[in-house]
Amino acid sequence: MARSRTETVILYAVVIAVIIVLVFPLYWMINTSLAPATQLRRFPPVFVQPEPTFAAYESIFAERPIGVWLRNSAVVAVASTALSMFVSVLAGYSISRIRARGSQAIGLFFLMSRMLPSTLIIIPLFVSFRQLQLIGDLKSLVLAHATFITPFAVWMLKGYFDTIPAELEDAAMIDGCTPLTALLRVVLPLSAPGLAATTLYGFVLSWNDFVFARTFLVANQKAWTVNVGVASLKGEYLTEWNVIMAGSLIAMLPIVLAYLFLERFLVSGLTAGSSK
């Protein structure tokens, strides 16, 4: 279908205008992070930095323990994802392949658990962790994050295993594999892209958490994750927006990169368990 020249011009104008409006907040974030502090308490605002400065980035590394915060976020994300992936791979495979009494109900339970309000589950978890003296400890976050990574991972992996033909395992078993070795040697290597995507998304979910980190770790600044740390920069008597924006950009960079890889998996993964 050919478009007339006017239609093409209008289309491009609309596309560009819409994208500018939607992406502008991110541009403004970058622009602010490169501004000298004094500029941000003056009008008119500067839309393009004549002399961009990395002072805000230097300041956040020099004056705030953002390195420690980043490391905490990474440690928790790796540990909670590893824990969740271990149990989810096995469970997802079981639900995908074997019809056993009750396993459908268990699958349904995981599906519904994805919708659990974190503001509810955090209350009893806080009580338990206080008894176990885990408050202020990163271990509390590892367990808390598994509450939302596991249900998600089970379903994303189940969906992925569903796409691998069962005939491959049957053939492997005729060749002498047990069902367990067939899973480990045949199914898992074939599922590598799905495993990678689920692992990466588990990492993203953990990294993005705010409610658990803020509640369990608030009293122990050394254990803060980067989200809690960056959010804490506001609320002091003078807000250095360039420093906050620099911190926010550093904190979200790994997540934005992860999404570039994840997008096509997420459409099917997020809607798993419902009609396509």
Partner: protein, 318 residues
């Protein structure tokens, strides 16, 4: 189990020692045991970190208990928290805020998400880049989305206030986050900005599944652009629309970071949803029993909503 008999006497499956077949986990008749063993770690983990906490939250909601007494002894069983809740104006206000927020954000995200999906589904040079850019806010973590907009809506040096005053739309700087109504508006803006790309990405997948021949045929029959949208595009998206809407509603319903960072539920509780109220009652006012009661109600609502989502499944889960 019914699947076991076939193949049980298959010679290839007999133990190599040639004796009578010994019990083995790998016999087809024991496949269900293998299934349970695979499920076991996940079941044990979730029993400890999901099921037990839910049960103890329900238990807490029937106790009048403050933070100091937690874990020491069980307070007597009482309906007091629920009675207090159903008599408090604050609870009904939170329900109203939750409903308005869910409805507003869902409708706006749907309209913008659908419009952007239709836009980047057109054929033009640079379409791939446009698709990525339209979806970008999706990748921004909620905490960072809240912080970016906080700065844009800042009452003293925010860009939005500057633009409003400069253009003459407002005579003074608006203290957005401390003004009822305005604060709600800011929350809506942040949530729509973070939420529309999700709808857009799902709708784009839906649009790509509509055969182009339908549009060509409709053109031949004289249908205009609106008719093609109304009678081909919208019906073609029916299968993805329900799930996208339910997921976005549940996301707004359960959100914590955006509201907590921007307003904490204020001013005058005008942005206090049920989720925020649950949190504040527990961790600001230390009234754990009362908070658990609100939380249990949010759980019931979430379960009902996700049940609808599961029920939309065309095929059984297996």
């Amino acid at each position: 189990m019914t699947s076991g008999i076939i193949g049980q006497d298959d010679p290839a499956r007999r133990p190599f020692n040639g004796g009578a077949p010994r019990w083995s986990l790998w016999q087809p008749g024991n496949r269900h045991i293998f299934a349970y063993l695979l499920l076991l770690p996940a079941v044990l983990l979730t029993a400890a970190i999901i099921v037990y906490p839910i049960v103890s939250a329900i238990d807490l909601s029937f106790q009048k208990i403050k933070i100091a007494k937690l874990g020491r002894s069980r307070a007597p069983w009482t309906l007091a928290n629920y009675e207090e809740l159903f008599l408090s104006a604050e609870f009904y206000q939170a329900i109203w805020v939750t409903i308005s927020l869910v409805a507003t954000v869902t409708i706006l995200s749907y309209v913008i998400g659908l419009a952007t999906a239709v836009m980047v589904n057109q054929r033009f040079a640079g379409r791939k880049l446009a698709r990525v850019l339209v979806a970008v806010p999706w990748a921004v973590p909620s905490v960072m989305a809240a912080i970016i907009w906080w700065w844009l809506f800042d009452s003293s040096f925010g860009l939005i206030n500057w633009a409003l005053v400069r253009s003459g739309l407002s005579s003074e700087m608006i203290p957005w986050l401390s003004t009822p109504g305005a604060a709600f508006f800011v929350i809506v803006v942040v949530m729509v900005w973070k939420g529309y790309p999700f709808i857009s990405v799902i709708m784009l997948a839906g649009l790509q599944s509509i055969p182009l021949e339908l549009y060509d045929a409709a053109k031949v029959d004289g249908a205009n652009a609106w008719h093609r949208f109304r009678f081909i595009t919208l019906p073609g998206l029916r299968s993805v629309r329900g799930i996208a809407l339910i997921l976005i509603m549940l996301w707004v319903f359960r959100d914590f970071p955006i509201i907590y960072i921007l307003t904490g539920g204020g001013p005058q509780r005008t942005t206090q949803t049920l989720a925020i109220m649950t949190y504040q009652e527990a961790f600001k006012f230390h009234d754990f029993g009362f908070a658990a009661a609100i939380g249990v109600i949010t759980l019931v609502i979430s379960v009902i909503a996700s049940w609808f989502m599961v029920r939309r499944t065309d095929e059984p889960l297996y």
